[in-house]
């Protein structure tokens, strides 16, 4: 109970705000991109909208989330743990998913970018289906990260 109700130092609040806001924008972009790509059913306009949601919303959200994460990591002193002491599980889960997820997001954006280009050339939307699958995977992973970090999984 006392851990749940703990009040953090004021100087931690802004980096935490950036981290959480970025993560929320990232997830919002993924929900928008994935649902738009899913319901597009070949419609070029919706396919492009889905891709641009990922590029213009999720990617900036990821950057904001990661900057906030790095900042709060140093503020909370996780970089200064005694030797032999590992990061807590919730922090490890969050870090791994954030970084691996960033890589997968870039891959999905590259695939989607080529897919949008091919769409313009009338060559089908197979690559945008790859983007859809990757964005659904990312959405699931980031929700797990948010759950682990918010509940401070031991």
């Amino acid at each position: 109970m006392s851990v749940l109700a703990a009040v953090r130092p004021d100087s931690w609040n802004f980096p935490l705000f950036l981290h959480v806001l970025g993560a929320m924008i990232l997830v919002g972009g993924l929900v928008t991109g994935a649902s738009t790509l899913f319901f597009a059913r070949g419609d070029a306009r919706l396919l492009r909208l889905g891709y641009w949601s990922l590029l213009a919303v999720s990617l900036p959200g990821w950057v904001l989330m990661r900057i906030g994460a790095g900042w709060i990591y140093f503020k909370e002193g996780w970089d200064d743990l005694p030797s032999g002491v590992d990061d807590p599980t919730w922090l490890s889960i969050g870090t791994i998913i954030a970084d691996a997820g960033g890589l997968i997001l870039v891959v999905s954006l590259i695939a989607g970018g080529v897919g949008v280009y091919r769409l313009r050339e009338g060559k089908g939307s197979a690559l945008l289906r790859v983007t859809l699958v990757l964005s659904l995977l990312l959405l699931a992973a980031y929700l797990v990260a948010a759950w682990a970090m918010a509940g401070k999984l031991d």
């Binding site: 705000f17 919002g28 928008t32 306009r45 918010a150």
Partner: protein, 159 residues
Amino acid sequence: MTFDSWILALHVLSAFAYVAGMVLFWVLVVAVRRTDTPAGTIRMEPVVKIGNAAVGIGAGGTIVLGVWLAFSVGGYDIWDGWIVAAIVLWVISAAIGRRTGVAYTQGMNRAQELQRAGQTGPSSELLALNRTSRGVVLHSLATAVVLLILIDMIWKPGA
């Protein structure tokens, strides 16, 4: 994880769903500004439903689980200033959100009427409804209020 940790995690996930819904509607607000055909407007309906589900689950989850936490977690009380502020802001955001939905539903309803009447071409009337400035203002206000809730939740003024 304790039971309250689970509730806190689900409360935060609900907040993520709420903001995800708001973000989704921002994308649709921008996209629909260039949409002047009934088919183009109606095609967005399934995505709107995802947004409605996200906002509904998010709004319900944040308030129910948040009130639970206020009673359950030691050190916090439901009458704490920052918790009262969050509840008031939640009510305001829900009320504004409902009005935003009404503003944008007019475009969707008109698109369905036009399609039923066999008018499938571009319509300046539909474009005007889709570009509702009232809807943009209301969604901006709702977004600002949700941002204030997030600030309140993190800074916890007076806690």
